[in-house]
Assembly symmetry: none
Homo-oligomer: 206 residues x 4
DNA sequence: GATGAATGAGTATTCATTCAT
DNA sequence: CATGAATGAATACTCATTCAT
């Protein structure tokens, strides 16, 4: 059976297997043996293609980030103003999107590992920072185009991303608590409050 | 609870030790030996006071919930309307509050374990549900008092709590990304958008 | 079965088990499982009493050094001059002494590990240095007492110890090559050449 | 041996790679992958040219023995008596000779493996026996030529070789303990004590 | 000849849990 | 209550060897 089916394929196969196992058992709970079994590979192969278990996690994190980036691109595709803002939110929260419970559980597990493992922390922070900056960019464009009024786009972007992140966390842990289909609309509404307000003041518009 | 006082002390001592260790190493990474060492106790004592490691986690989760409930009580104390809403938010996000990085890291670790261990999941869900319902209650009171207009208090409560939860997660993982002191004000602003709007429509109304 | 049979006893028990196994299989070949089995203990106990396999080796090295030091003491016991010199040699090479093939094999294995593991190297060097310095001391005393003439006791001590060490190595590897009982007398004779000569010249003098 | 020339080159390339790696990591610590990397070859090639890892060690041992035999030949070249004796010693211990730390470390590692692996033990014993017998031959010639007086050339040869071997061992493990340049002179002096003495008695000459 | 992916047994080490004292 | 030694299963990782290409 030893052939040459593109090492890159094997790596992806293994990262996806980690995703499947980790969603149910967490990162520590995902043993190499189980990951290999889930990938349909011999246990030894895992460490042939990855130097360490952490490396698989980093690869998976890269995958998750890549998929999300691609979904984002599809949802934004040249739009601006409220359309872009809503696109960003929908790309993260709309049904059929990240609603994949496996991806959600993995993401939350990644955030936990980010606390424990410095290298994972750096990678995780990089991914999050990229999305938040992209969001901040959208807001700044909207402000320049007079579509938005926003005293502090950095704060606004962070807040909107926090709301999204919070829904991820709740969806992964207490899924039934979230009224069906309410996430994206609610965040859209909250986002508006941040990009149409004249100051840090009370609320929305006069 | 009603045992010899020493016992209750010991249990708390151990739960706090788990908190300290878990903040740095996560739940799986916190060994009983290390927990015992952090508590200044003999390893054998841990299993004398707790049936299993999971039990310590559940106790810690209870502690975290209790502390938060008490802080909430202090921040609310009879207020209503916007004051109550802001109190709820501040109790979670105001400086000096849950900003304790140890507590944040523990909370995120708990959310991860909630996915893996059914029993932890139930306990975690209970805690979250209680806070969300309390928030929902505040909103309903505000609506009845004509202070708020909110078509769906359940959705609003969930969204506001998601934003808080998201800030917890970001604070624990990518702390430096959050502009200092921006969390509570931003969530207040977002919350307003949810309790003054007439529909799921565009945003706040005149 | 969990009692308190003096942890120090357990440590010694394990170090002796390593000695038995290592004599046949070398250090790398001595698995923790096998060491535990040879000691009649559960595998987990080994790492309860020793932080790492290397630690067991260091303990064993300490044991070997200690036994040899004690044998040396017995063989020297106040003697000086040629008696002391012969005593040093006999303590190392006389029959029934280090002729224990198990000890010899361990010693050679230790010397190999001393090359690979820095910490073992330091410990091994310390042990060897101590014996060589003791020998050098004996020679210096003999010189001061006019019993010896030796231009460079450091060189002489090193050479004599090298000869001893060489017999260890040969005994452990090509035992049958050494004529029975020839080691100690031969080294005694060689040693004389180093402590009675006036210079680096030809040999012994009339 | 009579295969395609490339094959023989490859075998030597691999044996030399083992030498390099083994000097730092020992025999067990030298993985086939690493050996291949050190040789600049694909891992699979190693087992194409050698049936097993042990076979590489045996080849390396043969190389070491061969090199030493050649050096010996150069140092002896027709000499006899003390010149031959000194030549034998210098061939082993003179500066620039086996002082190559890589070779020394390998030699000590080989001696360790000789204890563990019967086949290596036989090969190692063969190599040592050959050198000792050659030395014994030199001494016998010297005796017949009336240059030496030596009651037991076998014992003398063994003793001299032990001293050489001991210096190898010390040089590989506690190099700094040996006074620079003292090895060969010291062994020459010790050797004299064995080939000029009238009996096994006290010391040198009457 | 040469390659490098594949295999699966083996390794040190960690750990929750138990229990004699 | 308290101790800390004991247990044995589990884990990440390594490695000699094989073999399809």
């Amino acid at each position: 059976m030893p052939q040459k089916p593109r090492t890159e394929d094997r790596r992806d196969q293994i990262a996806r297997a980690l995703q499947r196992v980790m969603a149910r058992k967490g990162y520590e709970g995902a043993s190499i043996q189980e990951i290999a079994a889930a990938a349909g590979l011999a246990p030894g192969l895992v460490h042939y293609h990855y130097r360490s278990k952490q490396d698989i996690l980093l690869a998976l994190l890269g995958n998750l980030a890549g998929w999300q980036a691609r979904r984002l691109e599809a949802h934004l595709s040249g739009s601006s103003g409220f359309a872009a803002l809503d696109g960003f939110i929908d790309a993260h929260l709309a049904l059929g999107g990240s609603a994949d419970p496996e991806v959600l559980a993995c993401w939350v597990a990644c955030s936990s590992e980010a606390i424990r493992q410095e290298e994972v922390g750096r990678a995780f922070a990089g991914v999050v920072a990229r999305f938040v900056q992209q969001l901040e960019g959208l807001i700044r464009e909207g402000v320049q185009a007079r579509a938005f009024r926003c005293p502090d786009p950095e704060v606004a972007a962070c807040a909107i991303y926090a709301a999204i992140q919070g829904y991820f966390s709740l969806a992964a842990t207490v899924h039934s608590l979230i009224p069906k289909g309410s996430a994206a609309p609610a965040v859209r509404k909250m986002a508006r409050a941040l990009v149409v307000s004249p100051g840090t003041g009370e609320g929305a518009t006069p």
